[in-house]
Symmetry: C2
Subunit: 113 residues, 2 copies
DNA sequence: GCGCGTTGCTACAGATATTGTAGCGTCATG
DNA sequence: CATGACGCTACAATATCTGTAGCAACGCGC
């Protein structure tokens, strides 16, 4: 299979007009709940409702929109019986995101938060 | 003096109620243009207008809002004469973000984008 | 086969956030 | 003084998100 058609069908991602993948990625991740969803799935699949609970009861409307976008991007997939889980590509992204956790700890120590 | 001068004064960051720094960070970064701004500053300071140009002409309203949030978070600072630049903490975050660039390349090869 | 609970997902109105255009006051340079 | 760049703001038009309610489909116990 040279190329998969299902992913990235319409309007793809804002910022992708520059042709630089990083811009498209930053735009995709810079939408509400997107980073959080990927984060909550880091340890394994969650059903859409468990995911909603984990994400501070985000409204099902955006949640569903984000899940569709992330599926189109090939980062997550719907596993019948298990809910949503990261794809191989998604797990790859998760690895790239892990340094953030360590940074967050350092950050919280300096912002009197 | 319209409002908000001190750092992190009201409700700081959505999601910080959990007390887990990573949630506050993911929420902060999950706002439009935030990731992009940090990314564009990765190689050095930019004036607010150069930043706007780099960020695909984002409206000055959000740009200014994001810059204030990022300043309150201690990630960027206004350097008189040089515009906005990353703080030591911001550069730390930048390092945590670099893996995303490499991932974006792999990602773009699989999504026919 | 009939409730019952859960799944993924959608409608819709009200609340927020973002965009786009215009413009302010300040400072430096000519 | 004029010009231009700076950081920053006002404000109306959009786009996006929230919150509540509810759908059809599936499995399970009975």
């Amino acid at each position: 299979m040279p190329k998969q058609a299902p992913a990235m069908k319409k309007r793809a991602v804002r910022g992708s007009r520059t042709g630089r993948p990083i811009m498209a990625l930053l735009d995709l991740l810079g939408r509400r709940w997107t980073l959080r969803i990927l984060w909550e799935l880091r340890e394994g699949p969650l059903t859409s409702r468990a995911l909603r609970t984990a994400c501070d009861e985000a409204s099902p409307t955006v949640m569903q929109t984000r899940l569709t976008e992330l599926r189109d991007a090939g980062l997550i997939e719907l596993l019948p019986g298990d809910g949503y889980g990261l794809t191989a590509l998604g797990r790859d992204l998760k690895e790239s995101l892990l340094p953030l956790h360590r940074f967050a700890e350092r950050w919280s120590k300096q912002t009197t938060n």
